[in-house]
């Protein structure tokens, strides 16, 4: 009995920790979706690039991945702005028969990033062997008589806490700064924002940068606890959009909840079904969301508004 409870609780804790990081990825995606109205299908690849930055900083200069939180996200912020300015903006002006051609564009960018990474860094699996990698806390250290033992790995816990801190900072930025408010205004109603004097073009550029920086943060938080290879990007792009659908398109709070749900679900799948099936589990939850809850978690949060 206790053993089963222990496994379940341990799985739940692992899922929540994973979900916290997923939330960060999802927020970046949903921000870009909200402001640009496009699905950024190169989101995971941007994270992969950030992870390589953190990896090389660690390998070459011994810079701790958590310290590269101060380096990689600003770089990716600039990179994201560049993508928006040099590639996405021109495509927004192009008239094409195909809808979603900006989405096709992001897939193209992702393809290039992934393959360039393969050429430069080979498809070998890499990781940053930080010396605190296997440090862990145990529940029994705090409570000697506990009936179930739960361990908490130090890097997982730190990554989770930092992702919470970053999310709170982002919330503060969006809620209380002029730029943040302008971004929200652009997401809500582009035309109204234009009339109110918001520089919509600039907001788009900043948003793409911000989304890239957020997923770069997630990358820096993932690298101490995960491994890295070029094709990791497409895997995380899939994760990002499953979170976005699960949360409700464009909803930040939804993305956080979506991230947590997916994290817990994947953790459960891995424990109770098998490691290799996590991607299939992801797809199942994606289809389930489409069938039963097309508006995502966000549609449950607010009183249903009809729009046409």
């Amino acid at each position: 009995m206790w053993v089963q409870a222990e496994v379940f609780l341990q799985t739940l804790v692992a899922g929540i920790l994973l979900g916290g990081l997923y939330a960060l990825i999802g927020i970046g995606m949903t921000l870009i979706l909200g402001v640009m109205k496009i699905i950024n299908l190169t989101h995971g690849q941007l994270m992969m690039v950030a992870m390589y930055i953190a990896f090389w900083l660690f390998t070459l200069f011994g810079i701790d991945p958590y310290v590269s939180l101060l380096i990689a996200p600003p770089l990716m912020f600039a990179f994201g702005m560049l993508i928006q300015k040099a590639l996405v903006n021109p495509v927004l002006r192009v008239e094409s028969i195909l809808p979603h051609n900006q989405v096709i564009l992001t897939v193209g960018i992702g393809l290039v990033l992934q393959n360039v990474a393969t050429i430069l860094f080979t498809s070998d699996y890499r990781s940053t062997p930080v010396d605190y990698a296997s440090t862990a806390f145990y529940l029994s250290d705090l409570w000697a008589g506990t009936p179930v033992e739960i361990s908490l790995s130090l890097p997982w816990a730190v990554s989770f806490l930092l992702s919470v801190v970053i999310t709170v900072l982002l919330w503060f930025f969006l809620a209380h700064t002029d730029t943040g408010k302008s971004i929200r205004a652009t997401a809500q109603d582009k035309d109204a924002a234009l009339i109110m004097g918001v520089n919509v073009g600039l907001m788009r550029v900043i948003t793409f940068g911000l989304g890239s920086a957020l997923v770069a943060c997630a990358g820096c938080l993932f690298i101490p606890i995960y491994y890295l290879f070029p094709a990791l990007g497409s895997q995380f792009t899939l994760i990002a959009f499953v979170i976005t659908i699960l949360g409700g398109l464009g909803s930040t709070l939804g993305a956080i909840l979506g991230g947590l749900i997916l994290g817990v679900f994947e953790s459960m799948t891995a424990t109770y079904v098998g490691m290799g099936w996590a991607p299939v589990g992801r797809f199942v939850i994606f289809v389930a969301a489409l069938v039963f809850l097309p508006g995502g978690v966000a549609s449950l949060l607010k009183t249903r508004k009809l729009s046409k």
Binding site: I97, R304, K305, L306, K308
Partner: protein, 240 residues
């Protein structure tokens, strides 16, 4: 006989009533004008009839059958066609193909559909523009294309949403003739319109909406004599 019955129709958007307890009938063969200030709920009512919205409360009956909650394409198949206030041409299709695509609804064969499209294009005076891409048309003709496309579905009931807005006087006359011709074909029409001159000229009866509620119903003469209407709507229009 009532073609369309609006029964206790209400539509709420997040607690805000766009329509509240609206009741009226549209009789077979008549032209009924739906007027009211902007935001009165006219287009919302159209959307409730044609199936874009599922009304929060109440019913819409077409020839005695409830149609609320049906999908727009089903409603159209039953014989109710509509136009859009903000025109929705199929931009990269020619004028002819726009109408042809509609005509396929009741004429599965290409030959049959083509005959209907030809007839409708002549009737709406768009025949000479048939090979143009619809996005290249001037606004007046795009408004008429909306009507042509609706007619090509061979409806019994037509919803026209501001088909006269933005037309010049010459185009107005053409469109008035078209609407009268539609009536002669026995098609019942409900029209949303702001042009009082047009309304008085073509409509058999008028329903006035204000803030989502029906405030008056009657013949054009009755409506223009109604003080409440003049204050709520005509006064504002004339003053503006």
């Amino acid at each position: 006989m009532s073609m369309l019955e609006i029964r206790k129709l209400s539509m709420f958007f997040g607690g805000l009533a766009a329509l509240h307890d609206v009741n009226f009938d549209v009789r077979q063969g008549e032209i009924l004008a739906l007027i009211g200030p902007n935001g009165a709920g006219k287009t919302t009512l159209f959307n409730c009839v044609n199936g874009f919205y599922n009304p929060s409360e109440g019913q819409v009956l077409f020839k005695g059958q409830p149609i609320s909650g049906l999908k727009p394409h089903k409603v159209c198949q039953m014989g109710i066609a509509r136009t859009f206030q903000v025109v929705k041409p199929l931009s990269r299709m020619s004028v002819f193909d726009n109408v042809l695509a509609s005509a396929f609804l009741r004429n599965p064969t290409r030959k049959g559909a083509q005959d209907v499209a030809d007839e409708v294009l002549h009737f709406t005076g768009l025949w000479d523009d048939r090979d143009q891409l619809s996005k290249g048309l001037p606004l007046g003709k795009r408004k008429r294309l909306e009507i042509a496309r609706a007619l090509a579905t061979q409806p019994e009931f037509l919803l026209l949403d501001e088909s006269f807005a933005g037309l010049n006087p010459a185009e107005l006359d053409v469109s008035i003739d078209i609407i009268r011709g539609i009536k002669q074909q026995g098609i019942t029409v409900m029209i949303i319109e702001h042009h009082m001159k047009v309304i008085m000229a073509i409509s058999d009866r008028i329903v006035v909406l204000n803030f989502g509620q029906k405030i008056a119903e009657g013949s054009p003469a009755e409506i223009s004599a109604d003080r409440q209407v003049v204050e709520a709507y005509l006064g504002e229009e004339h003053g503006a």
